[in-house]
């Protein structure tokens, strides 16, 4: 290992075999050095990846952002030693970094891959997500970019038990994603023992074929055979994705651990690592560069050029318009301004009003049917290709995709989620359709933005704001139609709020969001009739929250608050208010928090808001009690 290495660019199969051994050795060296990691899960896939990277993956390693690059996603993210060993083999990570930094504090070579690394599209490590994400990337390639890049996803066999894998294959077939290849490393062993199907390749094949894929099988350690199936995969099947089931041996290449239980996620002690490296033929230092894209990608964009500036829909104050209607109106309007804005929905677009965008821009709308995990994953994949995805379903059903949302935050994806039919306000359909945990769920996502407009004007403005909001943003919309509160053109910055009633003599502050803003206003009116002035705040931005306005209100109204929200007591608007007030020094507060404590049933919105104790009547009563106690 002396002097600068010259990369090999035309790589024969005997060199590939050497490369595979290098990847194994480096997977062992890095994980043993870290004292943590998954060497055996890396070794099973080393031959496949060596062939892929050396001869089929079209990737300009010096320009990871090149638009024509293929995509390589490790759905089995725990094989990170293998991925990072590839990064060393292509010369973008040094041997020192690989061995010295893997899994260390502050390192970009984390335990599972994340886009902290420029060659990584999405964070993986929660199984069953890389392939659904890859479907989103492939959708972009086929329908939006219209570029010939391919999407290669390495899956583990254990993750085939995740339903999300089948959601992904189903959608890959439905959308005829011939640019997508899933390679399943069937090494027979999971974490605590054999997988469900072990080496029953036939069953895997039947399942993937039934889900619409062109299926290939291969001995995952036969480099010639791998080269052959990857050639077929690279060419693509007619109107179908490709799935390759590779029969492999966990720990392949080191006889002491090959196909043995008890070696998942376990590193080799130093002496054992030395024996393994010796058996693998010692350290190597090949520098390889496989093919690069042969397209002039910069000219091949399908969505080039700025759009025309959108005119957001306008509504007349007092008219009754549902915020979900305003979502559809605004999204359709913004579609003209942003040629890279795309929308997806989970088969409820006529309820969420995403159908308005679908009608206006059918080429930029993706129906995901009732598969919420894939809905969010496709949006993640589209964001990898720099589209602006809006994904919608009932807010309650985003709970189905919480793991995907959590991982999207680790992926640093810019996602826009819009959930309709929140809270007991939906009425007769009952609790299964009511989002009552969504604000807590979404506030707890790292770096998230959580919005909950009360009227159509603010809803439309916030959809516009979401376009430019980084990270995971979520808007909650309401089923019913309520009066428009704000004039066209009013501003609703993320992190702001609106003070709807204010007077120097305010005795109490009422805080609402969404439907309860209307209840707070009605309560304030009734209170005013009885001589009690109440400040009313529309807390449309639940996270980040308008701390300054809340503190000013606390100072103005003796620290007395009534907060009403259509959500369970924990983690929603009430928490946002108290967190904000308490984060800024000592303060004497009296906060009455009205929320949905009991399990609701069916009824009219009015009956259910009343039964939950979050309507104007209960807000008014809470104020009277609070003021009586304060005296």
């Amino acid at each position: 290992m002396t002097g600068p290495r010259q990369p090999l660019t035309t790589i024969d199969l005997s060199t590939v075999r050497e490369l595979a051994q290098q990847l194994r050795v480096d997977s062992i060296r890095s994980s043993t050095s870290a004292g943590s990691g998954h060497p055996t899960s890396s070794m099973s896939a080393a031959d496949i990846l060596a062939v892929l990277v050396a001869r089929h993956l079209r990737y300009d390693w010096d320009e990871p952002g090149a638009r024509g690059n293929d995509h390589l996603i490790f759905s089995k993210g725990h094989a990170s030693p293998l991925l990072y060993s590839i990064f060393k083999a292509v010369g973008v990570v040094s041997d020192e970094e690989l061995v010295g930094e893997y899994r260390r504090f502050g390192s970009r070579l984390q335990g599972h891959p994340t886009p902290v690394l420029p060659w990584v599209d999405v964070a993986t490590g929660s199984l069953g997500q890389g392939l659904p994400d890859g479907v989103g990337v492939a959708l972009a390639g086929k329908y939006l970019d219209r570029l010939p890049y391919r999407v290669w996803v390495l899956c583990g066999d254990s993750e085939m038990a995740e339903g999300s894998i089948w959601e992904a294959l189903d959608k890959a077939a439905y959308y005829e994603l011939r640019n997508l290849t899933a390679i399943v490393d069937v090494n027979r062993l999971g974490q605590r023992g054999p997988t469900e199907l072990e080496w029953d390749i036939d069953t895997y094949v039947r399942r993937a074929e039934a889900f619409g894929a062109r299926v290939l099988t291969v001995d995952g350690h036969d480099v010639d055979a791998i080269d052959s199936v990857l050639t077929q995969a690279a060419d693509g099947a007619a109107r179908r994705p490709t799935v390759i089931f590779a029969r492999t041996i966990k720990g392949r290449g080191f006889s002491e651990v090959e196909d043995r239980e008890g070696w998942h996620g376990r590193t080799f002690p130093k002496d054992m690592a030395e024996r393994a490296i010796a058996e693998l033929g010692g350290e190597r230092n090949l520098l390889v560069r496989g093919p690069v894209p042969d397209i002039d990608a910069d000219t091949a964009t399908a969505v080039d050029g700025p759009g025309t500036s959108a005119t957001l829909p306008s509504y007349s104050v007092g008219d009754r318009v549902a915020t979900r209607q305003a979502y559809g109106d605004a999204l359709a309007a913004l579609g003209g301004q942003y040629p890279n804005l795309v929308a997806l929905d989970g088969e409820v677009s006529n309820s969420t009003h995403a159908d308005q965008f679908a009608k206006a821009y059918p080429d930029r709308y993706f129906e995901m049917f009732i598969a919420e995990q894939q809905l969010v994953a496709a949006a993640v994949g589209l964001s990898v290709r720099h589209y602006i995805p809006f994904a919608s379903t009932f807010a309650a059903f985003f709970t189905r995709a919480y793991d995907f949302i959590r991982m999207a935050a680790i992926s640093r994806a810019d996602l826009r989620l819009v959930g309709s039919h929140c809270g007991v306000e939906i009425g007769a359909d009952g609790p299964s359709q009511m989002a009552l945990e969504d604000l807590a769920m979404m506030r707890a996502v790292q770096g998230s933005t959580v919005l909950y407009p009360s009227d159509a004007t603010s809803a439309a403005a916030l959809v516009d704001a979401m376009v430019g909001t980084p990270g995971i943003s979520f808007m909650r919309t309401t089923r019913g139609a309520y009066p428009v509160l704000y004039e066209t053109g009013a501003r609703f910055p993320v992190g702001g709020s609106k003070v709807l009633r204010s007077d120097p003599s305010d005795a109490v502050t009422l805080v609402g969001a969404g439907v309860t803003v209307h209840e707070c206003l009605a309560a304030a009116d009734r209170l005013a009739e009885r001589g009690v002035r109440a400040r009313v705040i529309d807390l449309y931005s639940v996270k980040p929250v308008d701390t300054a306005t809340l503190i000013a209100a606390a100072d103005a109204t003796g620290g007395r608050f009534v907060v009403a929200e259509d959500h369970h007591p924990e983690g929603g608007v009430g928490s946002a208010v108290t967190d904000a007030l308490l984060a800024h020094g000592p303060r004497s507060l009296t906060i009455v928090h009205l929320s949905v404590h009991e399990m609701p049933g069916s009824g009219t919105p009015e009956e259910l808001l009343n039964a939950a104790g979050i309507d104007a009547e209960h807000i008014e009563a809470a104020v009277h009690n609070l003021l009586a106690e304060s005296r």
Copy 2:
């Protein structure tokens, strides 16, 4: 319709045809009366259900709790008009209740079925859950009850797009659940248009067969043919579940809507309903009772008899033992005391330590592999049969099943979930494996209990407490081993806390849970060396929370708190503390909340706790700052 009706018990197929029309008419009458509901989705399945209920379902309607009863689950819960019309036809719900109460406020006939009704096992309405729940019931029937009851699940075709359906079929085949039959109502139309596969029955068949089911197909409106396939289904296949794909017509029986788009979830106006009822032959009032179980179920229990009282594991104060280890120890110990305690895990039992129970009681352990939705659903199904399920995986991966947990609360299921590897404390594996949203997620579940022990003694005691805890309970365990803090025999009631340091001169209260309790103790020791007394509270019960102890601490320490938690800032321990303190009247508080704000990476636990600012060093610094500001 005069006089009491005499039930028909031997029902020929011509009567079944009349019954089917009655179910259609009643589905229309109830939904039109309510002005809300899904008549067309009910009409497509009416013939199938008429045959099933009249001739195959073995069910004693007067004794819904009878142990030998078959189970009938509407996975397509929106067909509630059909289900409730069946309840009328068998005489357990009156016509007045059906038509006058459906979807009304306070009614047990909610928009989607819930176990408020004694004949309903689980709440449905979020699609793709009834079949996974049914897998749990069938597991109980085959492996635990060892009773010949059958589990019948009516699925919609739209929900076949949910990955959870395939997780369910996969596990049904793996566990050879011949007592399970899924009937898929393939009516071709979803909510906003055609389903993905429409009437492509062949593809459905290939998929279900590939997943290991015996598959039957039928014209879902041919009563003779339905009777034939249900006879086959009732007999069971050899070691396989049965899936019946029934080709049906949405809105069948009313020519104005048959197979038409735009009629999902839409009721017929009064005049249209009258035309429909006329076309269906008018109202009927058949009272039918199909077969009842022919077994003496009371003697056939596999888990009868009390077990021996368990001796919980004991640990020596100061020894280092991981709370996940204590979970395994305690669960194995409790297995002897509770013969109906069962455990499930998502292929990480050697990490969660559920494997200790699996080794001790292999007959009561169910491996769910990496399928967290099915993991939780199986636990729900087992709870239907009155088992005491404990389901475990990494706490982060329970986010995958949040919709199932939310629905389990609506089902009033008693579930015990135990999530290991919480927080940045896990170290090198990185953020994909770190639960940092789980407390927020679980606190927001209606009626939930959330526990987070700091040592092995309390962890074991809380596992014991969870056995008797109704509703959804969740315990968060830690990866690393920390010193045992409590003597054997110490009590840890749900809703309690432990004050670990307390002195009349306490200047501040430190609140921790789990790993941060140890950090709080270390900080308190350092502070004591500098003459600052700090009260330390181990808030092991995050919900319900020990309000009295917190308020006493507030009064004793001038309202000064430092709360440290290994979780994102929103919705966790900090929120539990502030919610408790603010719910009890005006109070001047200064709360410094230390939590995980930034996206973590890899590192050692110590490095990551320090980087997040939640270790002893940061707690100590926060106290100094807080006291400096208070002066």
